[in-house]
Structures are given as C-alpha cells and as structure tokens.
Amino acid sequence: MIHDVQHDENPLGAGLDQLPPPSSVLVIFGGTGNLSKRKLLPALYNLAHDGALPERFGLVGVAMDDLDDEGYRTLVGEAIQKYSRRPCDPLVLETFLSTISFVSGGFEEEDAYQALEPRLAALDDRAGQALNRVFYLSTAPRFFGTIIEQLGAHGLSDRSGADTRVIIEKPFGTTKQEALALNARVLNVLREEQVYRIDHYLGKETVQNLLALRFANGLFEPIWNRNHIQSVQITAGESVGLEGRAGYYDTSGALRDLVQNHLLQLLCNLAMEPPTTFTADDIRTEKVKVLRAITPIDPDRIEEVAVRGRYGPGTVGGEDVLGYLEEPDVPETSTTETFVALRLEVDTWRWAGVPFYIRTGKRISRKLTEIAVTLRPVPHNAFDGTTVEPNQIVFSIQPDEHVSIKLAAKVPGSGMNLRPVTMDFSYGTAFLSASPEAYERLVTDALRGDATLFTRADEVEAQWAVMDPILTAWTRSSASPDDYPAGTSGPKSARRILLPGDRWRAI
C-alpha cells in the first residue's frame, strides 16, 4: 500500500506510540538536592528503563557540592536505587550513569557557567549534532532569576539549530508582585515558549483525567454548572509534619505551599470551559479565565471566607508527635499556618453562587488529595421517613487514583430504605498498566516541547492575584492561627466558612 506522503514527512511514526523526545541534554541546577534525589533522577532512570529517553541523551548536574563526575554518578546511582519506583536493571543503570557528568559551582558564580559551556559543546560534538538543551532549575527560588540571567549572559539561553528550554520549579514568587518581577527577569532573557513552570500535580493521571471525564462523556457536562452542582470541595491533606523542611516551610506556609499552585490548578481543571483545542495555549487560556473570574477576597471580611490553622501536639498513626511550634528550627514567634480552609467563588454564568471549598493541612489524620463535587439534592423526597443524600462525584488523586460516584440505592428487604453506595473506577484496576510518576510525564513533555501541563506567565500571576488579599489580611492581623491537635481533620473553626447546608467531607 502506497501512502500519500510528502518527502518532508516521517511516515514511520504513524501508528506507533508517541516517539521518544528529540535528542537532548538535560542540565539540572541543584542536581544534588532533595527533589533531584527523590524525584527527578529516579524519574529519568525509569524513562531510560522504558526506552522513553531521547536517542542521544546527556545529563549534567550543577551544584555547589565538591564532586567530580564519578562522585556525582555514585550519588545518582544511590538515589536511584533508593527511590526508583521499580527495581533497577543493573545494565540500564550502568549505561544511564555513563551519560552523566557534573559541574561544581555556585549558581551566582561565573565559573559554573564558564565550565558548563564546554561540557555542553562536547556533548554536541560527541553526538554530531546540536542537541536540544533543557535547563531544570531545581534550586532555592532565590536563584531562579540569577541562573536564567547567567544563562543569557553566557549565550546559553538560545541558539540556532536546536531548542533551549528552562523548567522552573515551584514556588514561582511568594506574592503577585514577586511573580511579576520574576516573570520580568525570566522573560527579559527567554521567550515565553521556552519557559516551563512546573506544577507536578498537573502530571498526575487523575488530574488529566478530569478533563477527559468532563469533555469526553455526555454524562457529566450537562450537569456541570450551578443548576445541578451545590458545592465543590478540594482537599489536600498530609499526615506528615515538616520532615526537616522548617526553613522553607516557615517562610511559606500552607497557602503558598499548596493552595496557590496545586489546588488552584485542580480548581481550574474542574471549572474551566471546554478549550477550542487541546493545545497548550488553548487549555491555559481557559484556566486563566477561571482564575480571573474568582471573586477577589475582601481583606476586611477575611474571617467569612478563610481560616488558618496550626497543628499542636497530638497523635498520628499511634505515635505522639510534636506541635508545629515545638518542631526543630521553627521560631517560637512563628505565625505560619499549617492548615488553610477557603471558600472561593467563580463568578461566571456557569458557576455563580457555587461555593468552591479548598482545604489543606499538615499533620491531619491521613494523606489524601481529592475533589468532591456535590450535586443538588432531589427536589422532592418521595421516600417518607428516609433521608436521601445528595449525589457526589469524587476524584481521588492521592494516595490512590480513582473516581467514585455516590448514589442512593434501596437496601434489600421489604421496606423502602435507602443507603448511599458508590460506583468506583480505579486506575489500578481499569487499565493494565500503572500510571507513570508525574515527574516522568512532565520531564518527557518538556524534552518534547509540549507545555500543556506547565503554567504560563499570566496564569501564575492570576494565581497570585487570588492569594494576595488573603496574605495581606493575615499579615495585617495580630491573631495566631487556630490550633488543632495533630492527627485530626483541622481546626473546628473551619466550619465557620461553610454555607448553610454544606459540611466538610470526612478526611
């Protein structure tokens, strides 16, 4: 069969799963850090194992540690053995490690960039082609602007014949003003299409599946509006405490750590209008519209829509744990929140009047991330003497990825008694393969040049615009966050932001 093709096409790709990304070198600034060791390096190994890395691939770590190539390979090998989601194949690991080199130097020092240039040129020479370059900024946020400016100053931010991209870890600023300033610094050196602001929640299958369930099923979209939905609850709970991150967390707090990025992204995916196409810009444009439609919070009425909490001593998993203020390296005078509950409104034709409750906390009773959509109750209860609970659609993102629909059903027997039952769809059982780790998906997308699951400049600014009034109010206030015992579902005061008839889901 002769296919009708142009000679500048590649007909071999047709019918195959997605081709591996183009030949590239990945440079990780902060290549010895915690995120690199726990997530990035294992993700890269697993991509190597699956044959999903580019044909020609090089990895360069940059960090202040006094290591040579061999020392860095040892560090990487140990991290992969410890944190990989699958047992290592020694042959693949050995070959993967052989692609790795290391540049030692401070992120603000010229030397590091001067040493990096010849490394990258040597990789191009060895490959016989100009490799795409992807710089991954897995460093403290204060270095983001500096690194990008240094890349620009050393001619590493762009070149002809190959693509240059920069992945920026979170947090992208700590206020709208900072985000604007950082965007200005970044976009002074790079074009927006070169910038990949990461939010690893977007790499999770269930988050992506939200769009599939909404826009590929006639069942949901007709009811996805204020006429049928009573409320939306987005919950992200962690049973762990600071895990040695007091320095970062005490300057961040739950609002900046989780709400500004991950939870607002979940809200956007749930509330956005169908994009014209599933391209990066169309999807992100629709998300920005949602963020801009969120009713600005009046700092003077913050008590009505926001609650902040802080865990005290308690019991988690049968063990006594310290309260936040007793944790090592937390200042006695800290007013940082470890729990946030918000009530937001998306002021659009579709969502006007529907409360979007957001709740996140550390040291609560269990690890859990979910979105619960509660439908309006039936208009008339024909079943005397029995309560009919409203239907709920629950998208569970952690610890297991599944979707369940809560329905009312008759209890077997002679009477007409009703009880809620659930219909479940689980990623673990409905498909024959496990979901890849979010970082595997996101790194591959960045290598491929697909920005759909990354945050655009105006998107991150719009996120901060939602958060800023809350931060302003809390900064102004002299009150401490409301205490809650570790191992519970948060402070009791969280109930005060609920509208009549609504209640928090059990965690």
Partner: protein
Amino acid sequence: MTLPPADALGPPAPRTHGTAVEHTVWQQDDVDPGAVEQAMIALERERSQRRRGVLPARALNLVVVVDADYTGEIVRRLDAVGRNAPSRTVLVRVHGHRRGLSARVTLSTIHEGTPDEASSELVTLDVAQRHLTRLDSIVDPIVLTDVPTLLWAPHGHVDALESLGTLGQTVLLDTADAADYTAGLDAAQGLIDDHGLSIVDLSWLRATPWRLRLASHYEPPARRGELWSIADVQIRHQPGSETAAWLFLGWLADRLGWTPEHGRTRDASGAEVGLRLSPVDVGVQGLAGATVTSRAGAVFSLDRNRGGLRAGRTDVYAAVGEHTSTERHWTVLGASRGEAGVLGRALRRTLVPDDGYIGALATARRLLSCT
C-alpha cells in the same frame, strides 16, 4: 441465587505486609457454565464483605485454549506478566476424552499497601476435544461483559478460535510458532480475512522498540529526506524469528511505499532497495540488529546490546576530489522486557489497537512471494 457448596470456598490466605496476593478458590466437577457464573458472583460478594476496598478489575478478558498436558508452560508465562494480567482469564484445558466439564475459579486480590486493592480472576475449565466446536456456549456466560476479549490458542486449536470468533474481537498469536514463516504469516492473514478478527502478534511486538527507535532516528527534519533514498536494509534476527524480521521489513516497505516486483523491491521513485535477512544467535527471540543505508552512503544501525540498543551512524561528506566520513556509536537506553514483557505489551495492545500490523503483514507476504 444458588451459593456454591460451603466446603468449596477455600479459606483465604493470611494477609502479609507489602505486596501480597490473596487467593480464594472454588471448584466443582460435572458443572455447567451457569453454575460457574453463580459461583463467581458468590465469591465476589464474599470477598467484598471481607474487604470493602477491593475493586474488581474490569479491563480485559483473556480466553486461552491449551492442551491439558502442556498447561504449565502457558500458566508460567501468564504469571510472569505481573500487574499487566488480564482482569479475567478463562483457561480452557483440552483433554482427548472427557465426559463433562470441570471448573475451578480463583479470585486473586493484590495488596500493594494502598487503600484500594486490585483483583483478578482465573477460571480454569477442563473440557473434551468434542466441546471445542461449541466452546462459545461454554465460555460466553463466564467472560466479563462490555470489556474486550482476547483469544489465544498457543497449541493451535483453530476450531476453538472459530467457535469463539464472535465472542472475542482479537486473537493473540505468535507467527513464529508456525512450522515455517510463510505459513505463520498466511495463517494470521487468514484470521483477518476469513474471520474478521484483529491480530496481536508477539513476533510483531518483539520489534516494537526497534520500530520506535528507527522512526525516532529519522524524525528530525534534516534526516527525513534519507527515508526516501534508502538503498539497502539488512535485518539480523534470532534463528527461528524470521517472521519478526519479515514483519519489520513489511512495515518499512508499507510505510515508505516500496513495491516488490519480479524478485526485486523498488521504492516510490522506482529505485531498487536491497533487502537482506541473516540469522544471528543472540539468545533472545526477535530481532538482533538492523542496518539502513541511504543511496548517499549514510548508514544507521541498531544492534541488541547490554542496557539498550547499540546504535551506529555513519555520515558521508563528498566534495570535489574528496570523500570523508564520520562514524559514531552510542547506546540507546532501554531495558530488555523479555518474553513476559512482550506478552504484557500484547495484552495492553488489545486495549489500544495497532493499525500498523495489517499493512506490515500484507506487505511482508508480498515481499516474501517475490523472493
């Protein structure tokens, strides 16, 4: 509903920490398919009362028809696919002579330390040879409805496949199992043409990483032109894996519009393309290597190697009175999946059909008929 005999419900194995599998078993002789279906419902209810977090897997049925004496080898292969296991496997063991049906149902619950636990089901049916022509009436009540059904007869029970044809949409086979490679490819074509079935061919899937890497190599716009000036293709294969090699060539020829005629193969411009196959023992079924040479002399090769595929690239630069070339070698990372991985990939392929196979098979047969 009729519950299975109480003594047929085996006690569940104790739970252990980490990944563990719990089996619940029911079995009965002289049974009819309706009783098997009822027993499975009862087992499922019994389990859901004990373990509310278990979600029965509902992705794929696999019906395997095997000679009873050679069941063990197939069961071992299926065990090795791990979490790619079908949701429900119906293992039909064929005996020469047997009066009635016997059935054994095993519900397996996989604990991986998460709140939701997956499950899969194995139904083993012992049938007589005479049952094969009406196997559909036995298997139909037992498979999950509304999910794809994959049929596999590794010991050649074509009559069983014909009977089950309306039940299953896809047949798993290995064209390398046939007595000779021409017969293997012809049999696959027969199942498509005569029975309207889709095919998942293990010989085709063994070459998937090779197809991906070859396609990827020619993806950069600067290299795409080479695809239209290929002068020669050499395929190295494990002895006995000729069908994998022919299917690979069939795929290339199909995608690039090559036509076999009078013992030669010509590309879309009419230029001849040399095709060569050679056996190389690398101890692993499937391809051992591939070399593609362009008319300008550029060469790209892939060979099986430790930790991935060993790639080689030769570029030729010609100037007036001068002819130079550069040669580079490197490893394309990727773990060997082994036969269990190939079978797992085959099971997943049932959910995501591969439209490249039909063209590759037809073109491979045309190439073969011209040699």
